[in-house]
Symmetry: D3
Subunit: 245 residues, 6 copies
């Protein structure tokens, strides 16, 4: 469905950022990674959580959701069930934790950057697309408030995996689609960072989560996965930059 | 913000339907009514509520949501609060009740049409835009399953109101923006229908809700509001037809 | 069970108000509309919702409930399920919105009129009986506090419908019992108001909700339903007055 | 407020049972113990809890609620808060446990007697009034189904307490009003039973709960409280019998 | 399983207190009553409930829980279900109410003693073991803060019952194991107190709850149950004292 | 507090397994890692989740909790709040996912291994202690049912971190206490596995999660952290083996 030629193991899916999609948000961005589409918004609110009050510093928090019709078979609406799924909670904690590494919270003052990532279409890699897109939304939000200086690092995220069965790409592969993710033996998510200013230097790691879903993995396999992920993030960062230019 | 010329009292906002936006849904449509944007999806599920089992007939249900960043100041995510707001519940009941008038449920067999309406941007009239867009999504879903015959009526909805204060449009006005809705003395929503097949004839009413938010309204004012709303729905139906052509 | 003679299409059920039934409430009233019995209480509380604080004006809020044994087959207790039904939420929003038209909120000061409507027996028309009875409870509560001047309008509500099938009343009928409501093609609720003081003049509309449950309805049918409902409300208001005399 | 003469220590408040108040329930009874009024209903449902299925025997369950305006200052509606209070849960467990001693569950077949006790006015002793009234509702429900034989015991409940401070009754007192309950050092509830059929004999105890709210109490004080409570229950049972005659 | 000789009717199970088990709590105690093991902790928090603020006096509150694997067949985790069971609520209210009789709340100042009782192994009598163990934890917590003077009474609790069927102990029995509790006709819990200081005198009652689970019980049977329970509490208090020495 | 000599960077805390602590569980183990104590139980239940029915294979699920008094300042009881914290959800998903790598689910038949990990005392590393202890509980549970063959891998988990500030251990450190975890720049958890049977060979990775809490980390730092963690796990596995011998 994605075309006639199979994607290479180290190749990313097509990547598009549509900015300004949510009219009221300080910054917003619809990120399309292949058939995975996530709407990301960053809002600046003049309040901080209770435990932070009076410190003069800000906070960044993130929430993640999936529209019911985003998946292959319709999933239940969490607002109706009255409870977020464990998977949702895990993902939104990852997004918030990662993005806090991109922002100098002290430079925000007592304000909260609220990041919302809502999946319109899911085809694997939604949490990575959310982080990559949310970083663009955050950059736009800070710029709209004249707070560019608070953006201290650029952030991008990508999945990598080890696929041993099924038709299609095999071995160490970058940026897994749902169907690849489903049959991967090892499934990882990697968030990388570099300083916003100055000479780049090597990408650093912000989060690195590897899971042996099908079998444990060796030290050497872990090395290969990290290398592949870092390379992918470098490319993602170039497209982010273009979107903001 | 919408342009230099003020909109006429009986004039609709610009109306666009983008279909096929949600890749997994049987039918989907992003409806844009001015700055109000609602993503509507219709999914066919092979089940019915418990109390309907064994009757051989189908069901249609609707859910409504608003992305946190869709409003002027960010609103809380209902999935996080663990509860849908009263306003949300009221709206999704209206959407479901209305759309059940468009579909011959017996023709569905024991299946449920699940309609999801999620507001990406809110600028007044979200429930009416949701109904108007959801009807297109339902039509696409039924067509994709070869169930066109189950679509027995065309449906569109619009708001009308009586505005007595503030700058801008005054008197009986059609299709209120948020700022107009906010200062309206009387606020109404009207859902109209006509048979899908055959000669049109006059539009009929499916729902008619008028509320005196600022003051009670007279019998004569009610008449004027209904007339204006029915005329607006006739225009909306033409654009729906074009979107499906 | 209601007697040997069938009720006329434009005839109300028997109507009784028993006041002072809840000993602690500022105002209370058990309204009996045929076999529909609703206990209404109005309490004055020295607080307003957070978003209203400091404005010097008051608020009116309403809650609605149904005792589990009020219906033909016992219904679940919402407090046990941990959630109010959508129908409950929709009804209590209607009650509150309507009653706020009866009271000059500024005249309350920073106080809240909390209205509770609990259905002891349900035989159709519970939301209309609740509004009609709650208005009496509110009037009593304001009088007990020397706040008669805050009661600026008299309010009553009634259902009207279009019945086309079954035994019993047919055509446009006033004040539907459960069994009639169940087989009605069109089902409406109408809330009417008139100024508390001075010459009456025509009744005005506060809420007008019409739903084509069985089929859409024409403009002409809507007109007939409104006429019937306004006439019914005029009669209800006479009995309310007698109850308060 | 109850009259000019102070009630004697061993004297009950006035007691009235109004039966048939809930029109749809198999049995119902509004019990008025002084200014404490509880509406009790017993419904027979053709189902049993999951863990009882297939045993051929029935079940009895009870729920308790308090209308918001039943108390001196309005209390929150539990259905709105989404949670029953601890006090409510404790009381409804007591009611159910007690009433199960009155009924031969095997004689019900696989059916559930659902008992609902809703407090319309609270002035102390609501749980005891609920049990005493609910027994009447259960008796009526069983009679209406020709199941009189399943009613094996008569049940009544009363509060007793030891009051040491304040104006009014002092010492061991029967059937406490709210104001007495509030200042009691020891506060007890007693549920008594006797066989429905045959010679009475002494009353037996079904539940006996004594709490030293203000101070611990001696063995001798406990004896006095039980004696007083059993005497009170004997009188309550006479009035119950008259109500059912 | 407990040994070769059957326990006497008036004999307690083996009783052990392991103190200091929770390293962060002001006072903690793992109480082992036969195969019933409850971990009790008392924490002093510098806050009181909203309704107590400004009175200069303290509060004591208790919570009770059961580890999922504490019972014969694993029970659901209440935190996962999102709701405490009715039984849990009832028990924690009993624990809190009882322990408030042991402490001079005014002597705490505006602080709350939070008591947590978590059942690691359940073999009957968990609520009584919780009270007996929690009293030790409270005593340790107060001692650690130099607040010994606030401990005005010693408290212990035990179950007693009337067993008429099955193998094993029969008649009036003290300190029931799960299997005995299960087949008891009458099931009671008794909380006794004596002043911490000075000559003991007779034990007084703080709570006395008797339930005829299988049949009502006579006045004489109640007397026998109280006697047995008070004797049991006297012994429990000796072991508590030793644990604190 | 742990002694006079500072722990070496690559040194584990003292490690004790007390087995059989929960009397009803198929397998249980109280694991003590320094001052972090976690009670782990494994129960075999004769059911599988709905989506697995009929496949003839089993499931393993895990839940995690923390007693309120386990932490430095008492934390709220999740069962009372009605909701598990995000952190709790994230941890129990990690425990379950990891342990499923240790067990041949097909060999269980249609049964569920339910693992409960409850923290009695928290001093850092509770999730790793939980996994290490739960593996022992699972091994005991399978042995007790004659299902040793289903245990295909040995599992242990440990934290590693990069500490750059504060007094005490600095640099890459193994098995962080709470106070070290709090000031770590990089914080990782690593779950390692080896086949239960046969020659060991190198440890493999099951989960590897690294988070730059204070700053991003380099590829080289990641390498050092993995090496340290794998070495720690090898030692943990020796103690596990001894506990089961």
């Amino acid at each position: 469905m994605e075309g006639l030629l199979m994607r290479g193991n180290g190749e990313l899916r097509s990547l598009v950022f549509e900015t300004g999609v949510q009219l009221h948000a300080a910054g917003s961005c619809l990120v399309k990674v292949g058939r995975t589409h996530v709407l990301c918004a960053a809002s600046l609110e003049a309040k901080v959580p209770g435990w932070m009050k009076g410190r003069g510093t800000g906070w960044l928090t993130a929430e993640y959701g999936m529209l019911p019709a985003a998946t292959n078979t319709r999933s239940d609406r969490e607002a109706t069930k009255g409870k977020q799924q464990g998977r949702t909670v895990e993902i939104q904690r990852l997004i918030g934790r990662s993005l806090r590494q991109a922002v100098d919270l002290a430079a925000l003052g007592e304000r909260t950057l609220s990041v919302d990532c809502d999946v319109l279409n899911a085809d694997g890699g939604t949490r990575c697309a959310a982080i990559t897109g949310a970083w663009v939304a955050v950059a736009l939000a800070l710029r709209s408030q004249g707070l560019e200086a608070a953006l201290i690092r650029q952030l991008a995220a990508v999945s990598v995996g080890l696929v041993e069965a099924g038709e299609g790409r095999r071995g160490l592969v970058l940026d897994l689609e749902y169907e690849e993710d489903h049959r991967a033996a090892v499934d990882c998510n990697l968030v990388a960072a570099r300083p916003t200013m100055g000479a780049g230097g090597d990408l650093m790691l912000v989060e690195w989560q590897g899971t042996g879903e099908g079998r444990p993995f060796s030290r050497a396999e872990a090395d290969g996965l990290v290398d592949l992920g870092l390379a992918g993030c470098a490319t993602l960062m170039e497209v982010q930059r273009a979107a903001l230019a």
